[in-house]
Symmetry: C2
Subunit: 323 residues, 2 copies
DNA sequence: CCGCACTATCAGGCAATTTAATACGGTGTG
DNA sequence: CACACCGTATTAAATTGCCTGATAGTGCGG
């Protein structure tokens, strides 16, 4: 059994889609399909229920996923532990990223960087926002790409860019034919959003509130993808990161509607461990992403943190980092 | 990374030899060498110190071995858990065996069986004696091949065959030129044996004692292999299973010396879980090994155990099983 | 220094994996 | 119900990687 196949399976389970898993893993959809097929064959079990979209895992699939995730995580950790026993520092930069951010920005960045630094490999690890924080904390990755970066005692955060959030609806929705609508038209409308725990949800609620609008949240999900799907199904409107609907707007299944009062962005940022310095290559790559010297941000933030700690609570700094 | 490669690495670590690992895994020495080579390359670390024989693990190698063993074990368990979710019973018989027994008897048995049952695969898992017991207990394997089989509350034991133990010495040893020696000549001689905890050691001590001989144990190891190596180095004589020195006697580096008073055998046996019945194929294969119907032994032992439990302690039954 | 046993390396063959192209199937639409 | 669209399965060809068999190199003991 190929460890890579197990990772592939994790991607498929995460994304509930073979083709998206293929993009995340950087192979073709065909390869994913066959790999998973062989995997199921060798296990003499069906792991994925292909009879409905989005795909779901079978009972066996769920059991397997749990085990495989743990095993893959454990192996990566072991690999790291052993590699650092070796003599020379790794020439590989590993970046953790949430799917939405990683998939949008990593491919070009990786390619651009590897062109200029043929001796350095860039690896991307995907995971939930929470998982990325964990990856950075436990030093599984050099740094992480997340939205709403949050500095903590051990983690530093560098604001990167603000990705616009768009008000989107299905092409069937009444709003679809309009290019701009007044905020008041949103009053009481059905909206699909993130679950209450998700930071993005809180930001959206905040934005709506300050626009003086009350909407009716009709569905809640823990990921962009499901939201987009529900919007496509015309179950309501939603506010999502632009990158998350790039494909869908291109093929016309959803529409972006402008609304002067709803001008949201979600801040993307780089998080890193304050202790334990990054290797040269990682800093170079971070600088490429940022479009400026990463080192400067790391230092200033660290100092800011130090100053903060003396003052007590660091809440206001956190805000300043986020915006 | 290929899970198979990780297993290979475990074999190499167990056997402290590429060529022996190759035999255990059923591939060529070249394949092992290359696999481990690539593994080390991909880890950018040296796992095995090739500068001395027998091979030793580097620091990184030891760390890696620990992790890999756990991961391989975990994956196998997961595989099982998921496969049993599937619809049909496995057509694979998995046998756990200590190296010395498995390597001697499994290859032919496997071949013979698969010839008659082309639809059944036989898989052999190697491990220490203790590990084999664990494999059987946790249902990782259908049954186990061990020496000194020991029935327990959960495990049944079927005596199989008695492998002769041989008194062997280096070709340089004074005894090498003699075909038979008197037991008295062993008095006070340097002997290499197993560590005190090993059952085989206790059996050997017992045998020597009843022959009225006291020897001087000059070295102790936890495995046959190291003992044979020490004997080859002429550090003393030893009493080891015939199969363990087959190669060495063939190439003349060690000699088997007959001694009328030292007539030892080590009992080999099959151990199995009393609860949870074996699949048809496993029983067929067991029967092939035993040369008689396995089912009969399993039943009678179970009943014997039941009778025993009523009487209290089962020590004397254990003996009857062993001999 | 030699012989022996073992490991490394190399070229060739074969099987597994990947890709690109295409067929097939599920889902929503008119 | 037919159609369009999106996503998955299938196929053949190309590629990669693994294994074998032969051979060269190395550690170890004499």
């Amino acid at each position: 059994m190929q460890l890579r196949t197990l990772e592939l399976f994790c991607h498929v389970a995460d994304q509930r889609s073979f083709s998206k898993a293929a993009v995340a893993a950087g192979v073709t959809q065909s390869a994913v399909s066959q790999s998973i097929g062989h995997l199921e064959e060798s296990l003499e079990t069906t792991l994925i229920d292909r009879s409905k979209r989005p795909l779901t895992l079978t009972e066996a699939g769920r059991v397997y996923l749990n085990g495989v995730r743990e095993i893959v995580r454990q192996y990566k950790e072991l690999e790291d532990r052993v590699q650092h026993h070796g003599r020379r520092l790794s020439d590989t930069v590993t970046v953790g990223a949430v799917y939405s951010v990683g998939l949008s920005y990593m491919p070009e960045a990786k390619q651009a960087f590897e062109q200029n630094h043929p001796d350095v490999r860039i690896r991307t690890e995907f995971g939930s926002s929470q998982r990325v924080v964990e990856m950075v904390t436990s030093n599984e990755v050099d740094f992480g790409l997340v939205s709403f970066p949050r500095a903590t005692k051990t983690l530093g955060a560098i604001p990167w860019q603000s990705e616009p959030m768009r008000l989107v609806c299905s092409s069937e929705h009444p709003f679809a034919s309009e290019t701009e609508i007044a905020a008041s038209r949103l009053e009481g409308i059905d909206m699909i959003s993130f679950e209450k725990g998700v930071v993005l949800r809180q930001a959206i609620d905040q934005c709506l509130k300050s626009a003086g609008i009350t909407v009716s949240i009709s569905m809640e999900f823990d990921n962009c993808d499901s939201i987009v799907r529900a919007i496509q199904a015309n179950r309501g409107i939603g506010i999502v990161p632009e990158a998350a609907v790039r494909r869908e707007t291109a093929n016309g299944t959803v529409r972006v509607v402008a609304c002067r009062e709803i001008q949201m962005t979600r801040p993307l940022g780089i998080i890193f461990r304050k202790r334990g310095k990054l290797c040269r290559a990682a800093i170079e790559f971070g600088s490429l992403l940022l479009g400026r010297e990463m080192e400067h941000d790391m230092l200033s933030k660290t100092e800011a943190a130090k100053a903060d700690r003396q003052k007590g609570e660091s809440k206001d700094r956190a805000v300043s980092v986020l915006i």
